[in-house]
């Protein structure tokens, strides 16, 4: 197990390198560069060449990538070409915002999906099941940002502005400067709608998957055996059925991470949150190479680590699955 874990940890490195390399090459293959944006309209060719030299943009692309890697190995993520701010600093400020959003949205998703799926599977073909499956079908068909808009309409525009429509109040301890707002209550107010908007879609997907695999598990012989032994329905559902039904669900959750990152970008844009999503999309559109690299790096790491966590969850859910080096 430990050998397997180490092996997987080592495998993370080439994947992350590959993602960052592809992003690096792709970003630099776009015509034009940030130097033009930096210098404004009135600039001479000499100025541009000088600035390009300054940032090392005149060197071959692969060579530039190795320079970036070399600095990265020393803990230097580079600095934004347009603002001059260190990329690592920006990423660290924005990471907690996005992490909070994603973790809470997953919590929302699980809190809705597990009960809904259990009811749907245990009381199959009753009105409760039909309600759960219909709501789930509607849920998978609504894009996150439309759920966000509906929430805005209900709680920000309606209800005399119960919840704020944009902006952010930091969690105590994550505030990047002395002037920013921080506080638990304010944070909860700001994160509630985004987390729901992002979580509801996942919840719908999860409900459908989990219900289907619950139905399959309930039909298996060991569940019949458990019933024959006189075991109560509750431990059968939770210990035997749910745990085994979670395995395929967890796999799909892992595959959904790519969508979750997109969802975070969209939801952060809609609610004007200072998270990694807005950081990334702004950087990509402004072609701020260093910031884009920082964003690609943190996204790649998150993506790979979550997939690793998914694989390790299997051993918890099903002790028969053992990884050997």
């Amino acid at each position: 197990m430990r050998v397997y874990f180490l092996k997987r940890l080592i495998e993370i490195v080439p994947t992350v390198l590959m993602i960052t390399l592809v992003v690096f090459v792709m970003m630099r293959s776009i015509p034009g560069d940030p130097v033009v944006a930096l210098l404004g309209d009135a600039y001479t060719q000499e100025d541009a060449i000088k600035v390009r030299q300054e940032y090392g943009l005149d060197k071959p692309i692969l060579w530039q990538y190795f320079i970036w890697l070399g600095k990265l190995a020393q803990g230097d993520w580079g600095a934004s070409i347009l603002t001059g701010r260190p990329v690592l600093q920006d990423v660290l400020i924005r990471l907690p915002v996005t992490l909070e959003l994603i973790v809470l949205s997953m919590a929302v998703a699980l809190a809705i999906a597990i009960p809904a799926a259990i009811i749907g599977a245990v009381r199959r073909n009753t009105w409760a099941d039909y309600t759960a499956t219909t709501v789930a079908m509607v849920g998978v068909s609504i894009p996150e940002f439309f759920i966000g808009v509906l929430l805005l309409l209900a709680f920000s525009i309606g209800m005399s502005g119960l919840l704020p429509s944009s902006g952010w109040v930091y969690l105590p301890g994550t505030c990047p400067s002395v002037v920013c707002a921080a506080g638990l209550f304010g944070n909860a107010q700001h994160v509630l709608m985004p987390a729901f908007a992002l979580g509801v879609g996942r919840a719908a997907l999860l409900t459908r998957l989990l219900r289907a695999s619950m139905l399959e598990v309930i039909r298996t012989e060991y569940v019949t055996t458990a019933r024959a032994k006189g075991l109560a329905e509750r431990p059968i559902v939770f210990k035997h059925a749910l745990k085994n039904a979670l395995i395929p669900t967890v796999t799909v959750m892992g595959l959904q991470v790519g969508f979750l990152i997109g969802g975070a970008i969209v939801i952060e844009t809609l609610f004007a949150m200072p998270g990694l999503g807005t950081f990334g999309i702004d950087a990509i559109i402004a072609r701020d190479y260093q910031q884009v690299q920082g964003f690609a790096l943190i996204t790649a790491i998150a993506f790979v680590v979550i997939n690793l966590v998914v694989d390790l969850t299997y051993t918890f859910l099903d002790p028969r699955i053992r990884y050997t080096g």
Partner: protein, 323 residues
């Protein structure tokens, strides 16, 4: 099981020509069939019959057909030109003249929604078809030949899959530089197709891996049938069911991805009407004109729901094991 799954029937029946189970392929002497199977009904017809029984699938199909009609006849159906501004009629509330009101440039919202159907369906369907036409052959070749070819193709596919899909789609759109009109739509189509190719390659490779070990494929080889003929006439038809289902559901996903890219300002550019863009543009005015951002969102929702319902019904009808 035998009755419900066309692929199982194909192997339990005596097969003369490859995996075909059509009646005409069987000489009179060997018209033996499993007792449970409905006589003289092809697996395709069985699927159609099951599909017709499913109310949700029919509702889905109805929505899809309606949307296709709206998209084709958008010019006739739309009461106004969706791209002509009218500064004297901005932010009109819904009236008989403008059933869904007008936006900040005085454009009729209903007409924009109707024309937006085109972009949404065009990108949704064509990106999936494009991904299909690239992904399926790759998957077939990888699965059928195995070895070094398989490893090479699948490594390239894994490279794409290693990316969070939105990160890749967003960067591709920045590289393509979003524009308006048909060219702009084609760029979005291309970007979405690229990120979806591996899905089909993987799916088909998996099916081919099991089908190529079947006896009827072996029989074909023994008879000297060439590889392309085996692949297209015997292997491909037998992995069609999951492909069809994934394609229908994939259209729903592609439409959401298109709307999302549009929402981020990276889809088809204005003045071409696009639901995602309209939603985003009107969120700025949500305080006073809530209805404006409501309609494009509803349009996306109904479209995606239609394809999802139909896809779900197809899955139940074609491949019960995929449930």
């Amino acid at each position: 099981m035998t009755e419900r799954d066309p692929r199982v029937t194909a192997t339990t029946r005596p097969t003369i020509r490859g995996g075909s189970t059509r009646e005409v392929d069987l000489p009179a002497a060997v018209t033996w069939r499993p007792q449970e199977a409905a006589p003289s009904e092809s697996p395709f017809m069985q699927g159609v019959r099951r599909l017709r029984k499913s109310a949700t699938a029919l509702v889905g199909l109805g929505i899809v057909v309606l949307l296709v009609v709206v998209a084709i006849f958008a010019d006739v159906l739309a009461p106004y030109n969706p791209t002509v501004n009218d500064q004297t009629a901005t932010f009109l509330r819904p009236t008989w003249e403008h059933p869904l009101g007008t936006d900040q440039l005085g454009r009729d919202m209903l007409s924009r929604i109707i024309h937006g159907t085109r972009i949404s369906l065009l990108v949704g369907v064509s990106s999936v078809l494009l991904a299909l036409f690239v992904g399926v052959p790759f998957g077939m070749i990888a699965g059928y030949y195995g070895g070094r070819i398989d490893r090479g193709i699948m490594r390239a596919m894994d490279l794409i899959l290693a990316f969070p899909i939105y990160l890749l789609a967003i960067i591709l759109m920045v590289i393509f530089t979003p524009t308006a009109g048909l060219i702009g739509t084609m760029k979005v189509t291309g970007a979405i197709a690229i990120v979806r190719i591996p899905i089909y390659a993987r799916l088909v490779r998996g099916s081919v891996l099991s089908i190529k070990e079947k006896e009827y494929v072996e029989a074909c080889r023994a008879l000297g049938v060439r590889d392309p003929a085996i692949l297209f006439r015997h292997v491909l038809p037998n992995c069609l069911a999951p492909i069809i289902v994934t394609t229908t559901l994939g259209i729903a996903t592609s439409i959401i991805v298109e709307a999302t890219l549009s929402f981020l300002g990276l889809g088809t550019q204005p003045p071409t009407p696009s639901w995602g863009w309209d939603l985003k543009a009107n969120v700025a005015f949500i305080q006073a004109n809530a209805w404006l951002s409501l309609f494009p969102g509803l349009a996306i929702f109904v479209t995606v729901l239609g394809f999802n319902l139909f896809g779900d019904g197809l899955r139940d009808a074609l491949d019960p094991r995929l449930k």
